[in-house]
Symmetry: C3
Subunit: 176 residues, 3 copies
Amino acid sequence: MDGFGVIVLAAATGIGGGTIRDLILDQPVFWLHDTSYIYAILCAVLISIFWLNRHENIPRTLLQIADAIGLAFFAVMGVQKALSIGMPDMTAIIMGVLTGCFGGVIRDVLAREIPLLLKGELYAITCIFGGIVYTQTIKLGLATEYVMLLSMASTLFLRLAAMRYNLVLHVFKYPN
Amino acid sequence: MDGFGVIVLAAATGIGGGTIRDLILDQPVFWLHDTSYIYAILCAVLISIFWLNRHENIPRTLLQIADAIGLAFFAVMGVQKALSIGMPDMTAIIMGVLTGCFGGVIRDVLAREIPLLLKGELYAITCIFGGIVYTQTIKLGLATEYVMLLSMASTLFLRLAAMRYNLVLHVFKYPN
Amino acid sequence: MDGFGVIVLAAATGIGGGTIRDLILDQPVFWLHDTSYIYAILCAVLISIFWLNRHENIPRTLLQIADAIGLAFFAVMGVQKALSIGMPDMTAIIMGVLTGCFGGVIRDVLAREIPLLLKGELYAITCIFGGIVYTQTIKLGLATEYVMLLSMASTLFLRLAAMRYNLVLHVFKYPN
């Protein structure tokens, strides 16, 4: 995979989750009026291309950690936005999962990979964990910034732990 | 495929069609405020997992019949919602197809299967048949409940017949 | 691939890009009230099926030219609609890319092909080129019709040139 499609793929991954969140919540899509998001993605892509052209590869672990940070960050933003317009906790948690995971799913579908989401690792469930942390701690009266940090840290921690120790949630006794 | 991804896949299949319908019709997405849909899907998934862990497999025919019932049910809901906000018949029929088939398409794309929709069996066309039955019988002054039942039965009957007798609609004389 | 799924695939390709454009711009989806688009696609599909059943195949080049015309046409419509509701240039260009390319991406994902978009040929970038032509020439005070024609011609010309001379934009020095 070469050429400009890579940039499109990166953009789809970066803004796909938030776009579907805003569509479902019937909010203005976040990058529509504020084009700084688009420029941020362009910068990130240019830096990556520059880096990749100097060094032969990005270490796989680094990519996974970047993916985990994106997952945790987007998941928190999804929960926060849903709650800010008065959605119930359950809906907010699902918006967190959607926002966190959807970009990566678009990327994997377009690149014809099996979505990371479906591979059996703890992935979507880390967003649910972060979403539960968010919706429960906010009720304790903590300031929103602390709740967001705590929730993001929970998601990130669980995801990194899952990667490090190959945590897998078996829901079926017999493999299919 | 194991782990939590299965639940996400089930949820995508269950609410995907209705979500895209509501987005296109510019209606509030149906599961946003009423979280009972989400709980219903969770229950269905838990029952399936419990069942699959006691018995080794679900018979293929049973799965296909469940898929056919879902298809017929969601298709009718799509037509009904589109008509209820004053859409033209043609649009309502297409919303029926979208609502009925889209969930399954998401599932097949994520699981990297060839969508059932494209496999040549009568699939989308059963939703169109049910949609025509709906939009035409409602004009005869029948009560909405009867029209919905009739339309759902038409879709289901045609789909089950297509499965039973391997009905295929050949649109090309020469296979590609 | 045979049967009715082909028609669904054609419809998804034809209206998919414009549908996602209208959803993101929060405009009424264009084919919802005006069903003539749906009839136009049905006619196009029927003509194609008729043609394919008399002749064995459509020459590959003809298909690619049809794809290029669709790309250029939809891209211009995307830019035009975004600007008409007061979006910034950058957003309008991206809506052009989305509208132009998204239908083809849906088609390729459903048919399990590697999206043309990602194959390294100049594809998305031709929409960006057309979008820049549009947003810049409209500022010179040219009539909208001329700007649209000019932008469409730019996209089409660049895409046809890319096809004819196998223009590829290498963004990576080392192939992955």
